[in-house]
Symmetry: C2
Subunit: 342 residues, 2 copies
């Protein structure tokens, strides 16, 4: 039987800095047109691939994390939306749409089929299954409701607020009756936050001389909840502006490494003075809440109470630049790669 | 009526470094022998005064804390055990023993009488009312049970472990069925931790080249709970050794200032990877638990299950050196000043 030509994105080697386009390379390989009989696997055609900041952690030669590193010379792994082409698993049939861990390539043979979910919602854009309804959306949901312990009327600060996670945190906080301010790295993003995503206020951190002063301007009475997607200087400034019994949900620092932050965090003494709870979390610890998340967020989306901004780059060949762009803030909204429309 | 001669310890002026003996000075003043009629106040003779690390925070010109700074030129305020000499408050009579906020002087006129508790336990050393049964003991109790969420069999690390708070944290953790390791700054203290206070292991951090390696040696499987009394390098090392879902109770950094820690904390990315909860706290937020604390800890003490090590310096004139000594680790156990034995 003729093999299928299969374009792939290969992870070249480990790095100890922010990813660059040249850390990945395109290769043309081939793949059998069927899942081997008796394998229980299925073959998918990949439609949408997700670019996420956590992937930086998999590009380091470090095995102590919650997820193993990529294998040099092998195809990049990531979340995606795919269509089943051939299946040896009785639970999936050709034409089924699935989301979950797949490869950065045109076709993938999925052996761990339990890591994919069947998509049965036809009124929601397919790519949202790696964004609003996928890992980033669920991170926002679990982090906001389970880690931040929000109350109506509280003042919430979100960094990287137009990103895949931040934009949903802000909208959930507004729906919860909170006052919400976001920071982002361009005026276009600030505009998006204020005029499309419904944040009360937003600012461009790159235009601020003094982040502490900026936060004091937007939170003269202090911050109840800081949803931290960035760490570093912004975390240090937020620590100085927390209210008594404030909470900090730490989401984004997973992409950092001690070496990339030579100055360190200086204001932790405020954890004591203000009795702050600072908590790191991963969405994977809250998977029992996933059905409730889907119900809530799909409901809000259908009622028009939530929107989701994506930055879709076309074609697998755009993937290396799309991933690298995440770390210079090039993306406006959730970064997705469209490999094929159907 | 003749006035009483009243030796006092005066706070000279604000500082931005660790306290030194010369930041305080002795002065002889006088005081009326009675609480003014109609004042509702009472006059006490101070017996024991407490030296606590948090007092450093009151020696800075900073008004944003949970407790106001000392007033330059005025007598130092602190916790003490005192005997009522004369009272205009019907709830207190001469001879009553009280504990709570008083002055670093021989006699104090107490106007805010609600800030003192009457002592009614005659089988407990009087000085323990500023240590084991006072603020430090209650800090250990609230921090361990309410912030650390301990479970039997968990591995607990305590820094400044022979100090006023640490020594009780370790003993409570042992009584809870935990494995407990403490760090301290001298071999004498290490010996105390292992042979008197019942810690499973202890080490002298000053003799370790690499704190990360030291913690790996004592916690090959990682730390479930870190009760942090010191911050800085030890916190950074502990962050690298926490288990998944570990907890860090942040107690001691209140005595620090960003300027005193130019290197900052670098390993917070581990909060995310290991999903760590790091929480600052103050005992004053848990005062509703104080009666339960007294019942538990007095019970343990009477059953011989808890001991408490004090470092008592004799005479009010020793107070400036005793306070300064806290910040170089001179004290072995809880630092108390005995002003008068009765």
């Amino acid at each position: 039987m003729a093999k299928l030509e299969n374009k792939q994105v290969i992870f070249k080697n480990f790095i100890d800095r922010a990813p660059q386009e040249t850390d990945l390379e395109l290769k043309v390989s081939d793949i059998g047109p069927r899942a081997p009989s008796g394998s229980g696997a299925f073959l998918v055609k990949n439609l949408y691939l997700s670019c996420d900041p956590y992937m930086r952690g998999r590009m380091r030669d470090f095995h102590g994390s919650y997820i193993p590193p990529f294998v040099p010379g092998q195809v990049v792994e990531g979340f995606g939306v795919s269509k089943v082409v051939h299946s040896d698993d009785p639970n999936f049939k050709p034409g089924d749409l699935v989301s979950g861990l797949t490869g950065w390539e045109e076709y993938s043979l999925i052996k761990k089929t339990e890591r994919l979910r069947k998509i049965q919602l036809d009124d929601i854009p397919l790519s949202y299954h790696v964004g609003l309804l996928g890992m980033p959306g669920f991170t926002a949901y679990a982090g906001f409701y389970e880690v931040c312990s929000p109350s109506r009327g509280e003042h919430v600060f979100v960094s990287a607020a137009s990103g895949a996670v931040g934009q949903l945190v802000g909208q959930l906080a507004k729906l919860h009756g909170c006052y919400v301010v976001g920071s982002a790295g361009s005026n276009q993003k600030v505009d998006l936050l204020k005029n499309k995503l419904g944040f009360d206020e937003a600012f461009n951190y790159k235009e601020e001389q003094d982040l502490n002063a900026a936060l004091k301007r937007y939170f003269p009475q202090g911050i109840d909840i800081y949803f931290d997607n960035v760490g570093a200087e912004m975390l240090d400034a937020a620590l100085l502006n927390m209210k008594i019994h404030g909470r900090i949900a730490v989401c984004g620092m997973v992409s950092q490494h001690s070496l990339s932050d030579p100055k360190g965090i200086h204001n932790l003494f405020n954890l004591v003075m203000m009795r702050i709870r600072m908590q790191g979390f991963l969405q994977s610890d809250y998977l029992h809440l996933y059905p409730r998340f889907l119900e809530h967020v799909i409901g809000y989306y259908r009622q028009g109470k939530i929107v989701y901004v994506e930055d879709v780059s076309e074609g697998l060949a755009s993937a290396p630049a799309a991933l690298a762009g995440l770390f210079s803030g090039k993306n406006v909204g959730k970064q997705v790669i469209c490999v094929a429309h159907e």
